[in-house]
């Protein structure tokens, strides 16, 4: 029995596909403790005075090893069900509880088909008892876990020869819900990205075809076509740049330059670069910089990009004659820098204020007002929160205007940066 349990422990360890470092460490400690206890017990056997005492010590070894095996099974995230040569459950771990009609402890010694809820799983395990390839069998099944359908990767492996009395089938079930969700999100992202890329591409290819076909009636029309091709190419380039930057930040691959940044200088430079666009829309830009030290440690180019992006949005969505205010101050209590860009524009409804920072989210009613990539604010959030340990947000009243703000710690802290 002792040998069998030892074989079982190693067999199960071998077939659990993804073992975390923590689990491996736990394993090591458990095995080392078990080994110490067993070595001591073996030593005791050697010095035992009579058969009764020897049997007691052997029993102690068996129980210790069983407890160790069960403890290891129970920390596994994967469900494990072990069925013996008689079709009875030898052990089911804590993660398997949702697949059983009784608790894992109660399941031990019961006929497997009586306690495994899902008929498909019971059939799969029953079939495996009649023979499995040496390397085991791997399949995917949708099973009922606590009455809910869940996709599982099911791995079945024989322990001991089929003709041996110690023969058992070990079933390890890995919940695939997270993998499926990641795949769904990835597919959704690719679909949205593809949609956003096709839109400017459509304009570019359509206007080029019009030029080729001679549909522009005069030089002015031709110049107009060239202008559309140029602006849409620029939109496509911004979209691709934003996509790549967001993807690199999310993957932890963005390299940022950490330097002392004078936020006042950045604000003035950003306002200067957007002033022409603001004047074209008959908008005033005001700056309110507190007369305190506004120096932070961060990436100057990226923070400049955030301020320009917020200013650009304010200009796009504020009707002519409006006012935009860029303010910066330092909060000495929280030791953080506060920067805000407020406008007297259209404002955003309360149920949309959080969504505007999501990838590809665009306030539906504003699509017609201005072109955008739907990625600018998401990139701002990544630059502020992921790379600078800050926070970004929005206060807005529909019809009254919006105030986008961000805070960044003033003392140096390490963001998620990779070389």
């Amino acid at each position: 029995m002792t040998t069998f349990i030892t074989i079982l422990i190693f067999a199960i360890t071998g077939i659990v596909a993804v073992a975390s470092l923590t689990l491996a460490r736990y394993w090591f400690v458990q095995l080392r403790n078990a080994t110490t206890e067993i070595e001591k017990a073996i030593h005791d056997v050697d010095t035992a005075q009579n058969e009764g005492e020897t049997a007691r010590i052997h029993g102690c070894i068996d129980r210790t090893r069983r407890r160790q095996a069960e403890a290891v099974f129970d920390v596994l995230r994967d469900a494990v069900i072990v069925v013996d040569a008689h079709g009875e459950i030898l052990h089911a771990n804590a993660a398997a509880s949702g697949l059983l009609s009784v608790t894992p402890e109660e399941a031990a010694g019961k006929v497997m088909t009586d306690v495994v809820n899902d008929h498909q799983l019971a059939s799969t395990i029953s079939a495996a008892r009649n023979g499995l390839p040496t390397e085991g069998r791997l399949c995917e099944q949708e099973l009922f876990f606590n009455s809910e359908p869940v996709s599982y990767e099911v791995h079945l492996q024989s322990v001991g020869g089929h003709e041996e009395p110690m023969h058992a089938v070990v079933t390890v079930l890995r919940d695939l819900s997270r993998e499926r969700e990641v795949a769904r999100l990835k597919s959704d992202f690719v679909s949205k990205a593809s949609h956003e890329l096709r839109t400017p591409l459509s304009s570019i290819s359509a206007y080029i075809e019009m030029l080729v076909d001679g549909d522009a009636e005069d030089e002015d029309a031709r110049q107009e076509f060239y202008k559309v091709i140029s602006t849409e190419t620029d939109r496509l380039r911004r979209l691709i740049d934003n996509l790549l930057n967001i993807s690199r930040i999310e993957a932890g691959l963005m390299h940022i330059e950490r330097e002392q940044v004078q936020i006042g200088e950045l604000v003035e430079r950003a306002v200067q670069s957007m002033m022409h666009q603001a004047k074209e829309n008959n908008l005033d830009i005001h700056t309110k910089l507190a007369q305190v030290d506004l120096t932070i440690t961060g990436d100057s180019d990226m923070l400049y990009q955030v301020i320009v992006n917020l200013l650009s949005n304010a200009i796009k969505y504020t009707p002519q004659g409006g006012r935009i205010t860029v303010a910066a101050d330092a909060d000495h209590l929280t030791r953080s820098l506060h920067l805000s860009v407020a406008d007297t524009g259209l404002g955003i409804a309360p149920d949309e204020t959080e969504k505007v920072f999501d990838k590809f989210y665009r306030v539906e009613n504003y699509r017609r007002i201005a072109n955008g990539t739907g990625l600018g604010l998401n990139l701002c959030r990544h630059i502020v929160e992921t790379l600078h340990n800050g926070q970004i947000g929005l206060d807005s009243t529909l019809g009254m205007g919006s105030r986008f703000w961000f805070t960044i710690p003033m003392q140096e802290r390490t963001g998620r940066v990779a070389a």
């Binding site: 593809s194 949609h195 096709r198 591409l201 459509s202 304009s203 359509a206 019009m210 549909d215 017609r368």
Partner: protein, 134 residues
């Protein structure tokens, strides 16, 4: 009698380029910037053909197609759908009775004009624009 086409898209550049190509191909063209605007115009003055984008504010292209089918005055109008969603468009979306064809972005204005010519060659042009609502 010249056939009249209603072009619907919230992207100004697409609206302009399609309108110009269709006018240059001999059609009368009117434009709408979203589904609601298009439905209002179609009820008021039914065109011979509608060419619409799918993703638009207020009422999208699929909702527009369904609304047109449900309304007696517009149920007969053929619709060409232009989509940037590619293969993700559900079959049920294009099974609506009035959808004659689906074009993927990026598209050829020349191709759209040829398709409009082909569809409208089977349909007699409507009467002159009406002033009262249908």
């Amino acid at each position: 009698m010249t056939h009249r086409i209603l072009v619907v898209d919230d992207e100004t550049h697409i609206l302009q380029v399609l309108s110009l190509k269709l006018r240059n191909s001999g059609f009368e063209v009117s434009t709408a910037v979203d589904g609601e605007d298009a439905l209002r115009q179609a009820l008021d003055n039914p065109p011979d053909l509608i060419i619409t984008d799918i993703q638009m504010p207020y009422m999208n292209g699929i909702e527009l197609c369904s609304a047109l089918v449900e309304n007696k005055a517009t149920t007969h109008i053929p619709v060409v759908v232009i989509t940037a969603r590619g293969h993700t468009l559900a079959q049920s979306d294009t099974d609506i009775a009035n959808v004659r064809d689906v074009i993927s972005k990026p598209f050829s204005p020349r191709g759209v004009a040829e398709l409009a010519t082909s569809i409208l060659s089977e349909i007699p042009a409507q009467n002159a624009p009406r002033s009262e609502a249908a």
